[in-house]
């Protein structure tokens, strides 16, 4: 094979490699039970500064991806708030992640449903991509070591939280 042919073959291979890399990067796969939960740093939805799941290491965290335009998110918000009021403390918290949403609409949603748990803002959907979500809402229960112990690609309700999430949590609130 001549030098020119080798260069042409290499160029084609490089192009194909680039396309495959692009597809892999775009695709993303869902975080599974037992996987370490991504700890992407995100801006706080209200107030300044950034926040991350890493700040809650040592606590159980129910990461809830939501958006103000999502109807099922509206339905599950009261149940999440009630669960937070019942179990939130030094050993557990719900952590909301407002994804692909307008910040003003997100803040309005938090006020409307009186959500007291911490909220991060994922405007470009980068964190949702890291978790491999396919929509909103999606819920991931992360243990104190930072590993996913339970997940639900859909909305939760009070019964679901009592039956599926509560058994993981320590008996005492704090």
């Amino acid at each position: 094979m001549s030098v020119r042919s080798s260069i042409a073959v290499l160029a084609v291979l490089a192009l194909v490699g680039l396309l495959v890399y692009g597809l892999v990067i775009k695709g993303g796969s869902r975080v599974g039970v037992g996987d370490p939960a991504p700890t992407t740093s995100l801006p706080q939805l209200e107030g300044g500064g950034d926040g991350s799941l890493a700040e809650y290491k040592g606590r159980w965290v129910l990461v809830n991806f939501w958006a103000s335009w999502c109807e099922p998110c509206k339905q599950e918000a009261p149940a999440l708030e009630a669960f937070q009021r019942q179990h939130g403390g030094a050993k557990f918290t719900v952590l909301g992640v407002d994804t692909r949403d307008l910040s003003g609409d997100g803040r309005e949603f938090v006020r409307e449903y009186g959500l007291s748990y911490p909220q991060l803002r994922d405007g470009d959907g980068g964190a949702a991509h890291d978790y491999g979500t396919t929509g909103v809402p999606e819920n991931f229960l992360v243990d104190p070591a930072g590993k996913v112990r339970w997940l639900l690609p859909g909305p939760v309700d009070e019964q679901y939280l009592e039956e599926q999430v509560e058994p993981f949590l320590p008996q005492e609130k704090s």
């Binding site: 958006a67 335009w69 999502c70 307008l102 910040s103 609409d105 405007g123 470009d124 959907g125 980068g126």
Partner: protein, 157 residues
């Protein structure tokens, strides 16, 4: 006197024309419209142009744009606001800075490289043709030439 007047009119016309040309882009930039912006930005959830999207998220995005238009924001300001909300992927066309610039530069460079390669190829082909003598191929001789002439005469219109 007439010459001076027409000179003055000419200068005045030139100044007015230049002023109009300079003012045109800024005037256009301030007339933002939802229809135009919808063609240039994406619905991040649907992965399509906002113009084609009807999802709840798209409706919120359109309402957001309309609010900014009502506030008198320019097209560029509205696109900046959308990028601040949804990130650069909200833009249907890549930005003309940073890594995104490669989307514009690479095709141009590829075109130039292809044109240069084609030019070099043609030059080499012509050079090889010249080295081969450059003489026109010899025509038929003898009986063949006579037969060819007869055939051509027969088909002569």
């Amino acid at each position: 006197m007439n010459g001076a007047v027409s000179k003055a009119v000419g200068v005045l016309l030139a100044v007015v024309t230049m002023g109009a040309l300079l003012a045109a882009p800024s005037f256009g930039a301030q007339r933002a419209s939802l229809t135009e912006i919808e063609k240039q930005v994406m619905c991040p959830v649907c992965g399509t142009l906002l113009q084609l999207a009807e999802s709840p998220q798209a409706q919120r995005e359109k309402a957001f744009i309309q609010r900014l238009i009502a506030k008198g924001k320019t097209e560029a300001q509205i696109k900046d606001a959308l990028v601040a909300e949804y990130g650069t992927e909200v833009l249907a066309l890549p930005q003309d800075s940073g890594f995104s610039l490669s989307a514009y530069v690479v095709p141009i460079v590829a075109f130039i490289v292809a044109a240069v390669a084609l030019g070099l190829g043609v030059l080499r082909w012509r050079r090889q043709g010249n080295r081969g003598g450059g003489a026109a191929p010899a025509g038929p001789k003898g009986d063949d030439a006579e037969r060819l002439d007869a055939d051509l005469a027969r088909y002569d219109l």
